[in-house]
Amino acid sequence: MLALESATLARGDRIVLEDISLRLGSGEVLALLGPNGSGKSTILHALAGELKPAAGAAMLDGISLAEWQPAALARRRAMLAQQNRLAFGFRVAEVVALGRSAHHATAAENDAAAAAALDAVGLADFAERDYRKLSGGEQQRVHLARCLAQLWTAVRTAEPRYLLLDEPVANLDPAHQQTVLRVARKMAAAGCGVVVSMHDLNLAATHADRLVLLEGRGFAGEGSPAEVLTPNLVERVYGAPMLLLRHPESGAPILVPAADRSAK
């Protein structure tokens, strides 16, 4: 169980979130939604063990993240940052292999993990390419593959692993957005807990089991997509009028901006 318990999260002196609790189990995809600056990344950094709560606790298996050895933690959770800057000319396979740093595995296992990860994000043929010559979207998928390789295990382990994705689809075309979110779903099916922050409410409704909508210093809503994505709540949080539709196939809620009445 990866959890925030009554945590207050601050960036320097500014309190971003106050007294929030969040639990993530294995097999689940949780989407973090909310306006810019509402604290989506802050929550992910706290769950990664990088940002220590000013009050309350961030814990993995009941042990404070601050007490975990970085390498042991790295074998249990991976995080994809919003922006990845790498200015040196690694080959794609080398970037992905960096994700295996904390594993005391054989070269064959590491190669298998890297190959499986590249395949999962649709970059199987890119292993020998120069990372710097890829497009922004391709680079983002390379880093996702690095995170997958980090969590890859040859045998399924009893200890659940956690994948934290900070706006993984922000720079991708619709097809690759689907690819990435399907990867998240597959990881959940393989026993991982996945947290993904994003802006697209409808993508979140389609791919996540549970949504958390952030507002002010706390949660405006938490629950299934149908519970959270109501026009009233979304209009309150984002300040934009919305209409609720249903996905013709899945029945998932779809929100579209309401027509601007003042323009008529």
Partner: protein, 357 residues
């Protein structure tokens, strides 16, 4: 899916071994030339024979006592100094470029060069009187000792300024290094302003760097310190690779980032401080060599650091050889040679990269 992964190792191996072998051969050639060329010429066969005798094997070429003495007590320490200083500066540069994720970083950034220069100049200015009171055995340690302490003092200041409650801030480290270097430069300017002609000449020569006049007693601690520092830096190759992704990412994939940053600053300061203490300022090696090495073996520090060491040693040997030979019977300061060769070469690299893109 597994095909590209399986085809990978063999191709990688061939790509890495060839340049490594070529570099070893180049270093060997540089060593033989540096030991052999000079007022008393010694052939490569004689060099190997003297070395063999030295370690207790039978010699196999005719050598005079003069040749043996020149090689073992004059050229040998100088050659070893070139090797350790070249390797030390180059590997420090490569490690700092990894730490800052900036290909323009070099050991001077930590204030090492500025601190050493200021302390050396101070020692030259006020040292004359002090030196007369010191026992003869201590005298040769005076200037290198002052330069080394100066380098470490300024680095410690830079380090102290960059340390925050949450850890070391690399941006501040960089800026503090630049600011303290400028301050040290101003202090140096002040000292040259009040120095007498002879002191001024000594300071200028120190600032230009030289491997001349190296004796075994001063060489051994420097060589020892740099060797230990290099061994420690080689062990940090994998965390350095992770640092290229960023500090947060290095933590995410399992490294102790704060401890890594502290180790890197301290070890590179010791290595480059020890290097400049005996030789004075030698520019461009720490900046240029890692770039060259990266062109050949790529950015992976597991290959980059050893190749930088080989390259740095070879470059400094050749630079010293050039400095010794072009203006006989005088010597060109080695810092002048490295910058004269290094700067145009660096520009050529930049322009070539430009043309490619």
């Amino acid at each position: 899916m597994s095909l590209p992964a399986m085809a990978l190792p063999r191709r990688r191996r061939r790509r890495e071994r060839l340049p490594l072998l070529a570099l070893f051969l180049l270093l060997g050639a540089a060593l033989l030339l540096a030991l052999g060329i000079g007022a008393v010429p010694i052939t490569p066969i004689q060099i190997l024979s003297i070395l063999a005798e030295r370690i207790g094997l039978p010699g196999f070429a005719e050598t005079s006592t003069a040749e043996t003495a020149v090689m073992l007590s004059i050229r040998m320490p100088r050659v070893i100094l070139a090797v350790v200083v070249g390797a030390g500066l180059a590997v420090s540069g490569a490690a700092l470029q990894g730490l800052f994720r900036n290909p323009l970083a070099d050991p001077a950034l930590l204030g090492v060069t500025g601190g050493a220069g200021l302390a050396a100049a101070t020692a030259i200015l006020f040292g004359g009187g002090l030196l007369a009171t010191l026992p003869a055995a201590v005298a040769p340690w005076f200037l290198p000792g002052a330069a080394f302490l100066g380098a470490l003092t300024v680095t410690a200041l830079v380090y102290g300024i960059a340390m925050r409650r949450e850890g070391m801030d690399l941006g501040t480290l960089l800026l503090a290094g630049i600011a303290l270097n400028a301050l040290a430069g101003a202090g140096l300017g002040l000292i040259t302003f009040v120095s007498e002609d002879r002191q001024l000449r000594d300071i200028t020569f120190w600032m230009l760097g030289s491997l001349a006049g190296t004796a075994w007693p001063q060489l051994l601690p420097v060589a020892g310190m740099i060797s230990i520092a290099l061994a420690l830096l080689f062990r940090l190759a994998r965390p350095l690779n992770a640092m290229l992704l960023g500090e947060s990412e290095a933590f995410h994939i399992g490294f102790r980032v704060e401890s890594l940053k502290r180790q890197l600053v301290i070890i590179t300061a010791l290595a480059s401080g020890a290097a400049v203490a005996l030789t004075g300022t030698i520019g461009f090696v720490g900046l240029l060599v890692p770039h060259l090495a990266r062109l050949i073996v790529g950015p992976d520090h597991r290959r980059l650091l050893p190749v930088s060491a080989l390259f740095g040693a070879t470059l400094l040997l050749f630079a010293d050889l050039i400095g010794r030979l072009v203006v006989l019977p005088a010597e060109l300061p080695i810092g002048v040679v490295t910058s004269f060769v290094g700067a145009p070469f660096f520009l050529w690299l930049l322009l070539r990269g430009e043309a490619r893109n």
